[in-house]
């Protein structure tokens, strides 16, 4: 009797989770499926499978839809942002964790305070600032604001990580005559590699997905990122059709899904680590 009851409960639970999985994944699978259809096939029924795995929509999205350009821009922005974030956060993290610094707390909180300042308040004046500096549509107007948004979390994570490195290692290196930069590059960086991967994933994901600042700051259509370009493309369904838009959505979504499937453990670790409250 109890066994049957247990089985019944297990079945109910399974159905519940399975239904949730359908709701959770169906929209994505649906988009991927439609992206292989011809426009005519799609308009005649949205429920059927594509008759062939044509890549025509992908070609249209990449060329006519300018997606190849947006993709390139986004990759470039993301890599540049992550590089800047890792270098600056490592330098600052080391100073905060291991070095003698007068007014350390003051400077630390000067950076953390950014967590309290909501995006909208800084949006306008930051926009005026990049106009002022005459760097609109350049990479600088992207990477520094992104770094500024990332720095508080990045700094907390890397400082905590470095705090666990024993001071003796650094003292020993100092006695051997290593200067600070040598210690950083030769000893610290190899030790904090897992944390650098975590920070790269967190910073990379947010730079890749960012929309609001890109929308505000980029006026040159040749510099559009995927986020901005997609929102534009989505409104052009009347001229290029629905199915190329599905292809564009698939292309934009795929990179991080694939990276996640390849390196699930690193992603889970990063996102869990990033969930520290401000």
């Amino acid at each position: 009797m109890i066994k049957i009851q247990k089985r019944f409960i297990a079945a109910v639970i399974f159905i519940f989770v399975f239904l949730y999985a359908c709701i959770s994944l169906y929209p994505l699978l649906w988009v991927v499926l439609q992206s292989f259809k011809t426009e005519k096939e799609f308009l005649s029924s949205i429920w059927t499978f594509p008759s062939s795995l044509g890549i025509k929509n992908y070609v249209i999205a990449l060329t006519k839809g300018n997606l190849a350009l947006y993709y390139k821009n986004t990759v470039f922005n993301t890599l540049a942002t992550v590089a800047l974030e890792l270098v600056l956060v490592t330098l600052a993290g080391f100073a905060f964790s291991k070095m003698k610094m007068k007014f350390k707390k003051v400077f630390f909180y000067l950076i953390l305070i950014n967590m309290l300042i909501p995006t909208p308040i800084i949006l306008l004046p930051m926009y005026l600032q990049i106009l002022n500096l005459n760097i609109q549509n350049t990479i600088w107007a992207i990477i520094f604001p992104y770094f500024q948004g990332f720095a508080p979390l990045g700094l907390i994570l890397i400082k905590n990580y470095m705090d666990n490195i024993p001071n003796e290692i650094i003292e020993a290196a100092k006695i051997d005559g290593c200067n600070t930069l040598r210690i950083l590059a030769g000893i610290i960086v190899p030790l904090i590699k897992p944390m650098l991967v975590t920070l790269a994933i967190l910073g990379g994901m947010s730079a890749w997905n960012e929309y609001l600042w890109a929308l505000v700051s980029i006026s040159n259509t040749k510099k559009y990122t995927l986020s901005v370009g997609l929102a534009v493309l989505r409104d052009k369904t009347s001229s290029i059709g629905y199915t190329p838009v599905f292809a564009a959505l698939t292309i934009s979504a795929m990179l991080f899904v694939i990276l996640y499937l390849v390196a699930q453990k690193s992603f889970v670790r990063s996102i869990t680590a990033g969930a520290v409250k401000g």
């Binding site: 639970i13 989770v17 999985a21 709701i23 959770s24 929209p27 994505l28 649906w30 988009v31 799609f42 949205i46 600056l88 600052a92 100073a95 070095m99 003698k100 610094m101 007068k102 350390k104 400077f107 000067l110 309290l116 300042i117 909501p118 909208p120 308040i121 800084i122 306008l124 004046p125 005026l128 600032q129 500096l133 520094f144 500024q148 720095a151 700094l155 994901m205 929309y211 609001l212 929308l215 505000v216 995927l226 986020s227 997609l230 929102a231 989505r234 629905y242 959505l249 934009s252 991080f256 899904v257 996640y260 699930q264 889970v268 996102i271 869990t272 969930a275 520290v276 409250k277 401000g278």
Partner: protein
């Protein structure tokens, strides 16, 4: 005596120079892209400014009064809070429930564990684009499905009518945030020591008793963290709203951030927009501090 302490101070500063050099790029970036703009925001809010030319038309607190008299401003707050409320209740609950069921063990656990997280990896913009098509009145799967099963009269333009627009966006938002809450819950449920559960088993505790007396108490700090993250995140909500409805129809889905964006970049009222954003910041900081205090109190009680 005073000189000696002064000397010590100078010596401290001197010894700190290498550290200062390492934080200099970060601090410089913050000065240029945060502190200076931040103080500018206060200045702009006192002027009638269109975003170009010199700031000359000083209007004092007029922008603040304009904002406080704008019904839309309060509505955008209301919508943001509705989003936060639903997210707190549904997203965290469902996220935890899923993590608990995965923790208890289920067939295809590995598949679910991997695949249920995928929506979180899709950017808000892509999610917004996808769901806008899903809600589409003619080609959208929701309405087509309703037609298919003979419920044509339930089919409606979900995003372009007042009663359903905000709800439709909130559902999309929850759909996107559940995976995150699930992942964090799962990571924390796994830190629960097996000994407790085994001891409870020996005592003959039921699943529900274990959930109620062991797992839930263990998860409370996690829920607090998720709650704080939800509030701070949702206050910044913009992407999905802007992609799906641009705050429409008739302001029915306007949230705090889209309100400021519209004021500044659609109507070119930088002064009013700055005043609005400063008022918003005051509310946000008050909420953040309140949350921190509640949390501290909770922690103190536990000790």
């Amino acid at each position: 005596m005073k000189q000696a302490s002064n000397k010590g101070f100078m010596k401290d500063i001197k010894e700190s120079i290498p550290a200062y050099l390492l934080i200099l790029p970060t601090i410089a970036a913050f000065c240029i892209f945060l502190y200076i703009p931040f103080f500018n925001a206060f200045r702009i809010s006192l002027y009638n400014y269109k975003g170009y030319g010199d700031m000359t038309d000083f209007v004092g607190l007029k922008n603040y009064i304009t904002v406080l008299q704008d019904k839309k401003f309060f509505e955008s707050f209301l919508h943001s809070f509705a989003l936060i409320g639903c997210d707190l209740i549904f997203s965290i609950t469902i996220g935890f429930l899923l993590s608990y069921l995965l923790f208890k063990g289920i067939k295809l656990k590995r598949f679910f564990n991997t695949s249920l997280f995928i929506p979180y990896l899709i950017s808000m913009v892509v999610v917004g684009c996808i769901w806008k098509i899903i809600y589409d009145p003619t080609i959208g799967p929701i309405n087509q499905f309703l037609n298919l099963i003979g419920l044509e009269n339930l089919a409606q333009p979900w995003l372009s009518q007042l009663p359903t627009a905000l709800g439709a966006i909130i559902i999309t938002w929850i759909w996107r945030t559940i995976p995150f809450n699930m992942l964090i819950s799962y990571a924390n449920i796994m830190t629960l020591s097996n000994e407790y559960l085994e001891a409870a088993d020996i005592d003959g505790a039921t699943s529900f008793q274990k959930l109620r007396y062991i797992i839930l108490p263990h998860m409370i700090p996690t829920f607090v963290t998720l709650g704080i993250l939800t509030v701070t995140n949702d206050l910044r909500a913009f992407d999905i709203v802007w992609v799906m409805t641009q705050g429409g129809p008739g302001g029915a889905t306007e949230v705090i951030t889209s309100y400021v964006y519209r004021k500044a970049f659609s109507s070119q009222r930088f002064g009013t927009a700055s005043a609005a954003s400063i008022l918003m910041m005051a509310v946000m900081i008050a909420i953040t501090i309140a949350l921190q205090l509640i949390q501290r109190k909770g922690e103190a009680k536990k000790k």
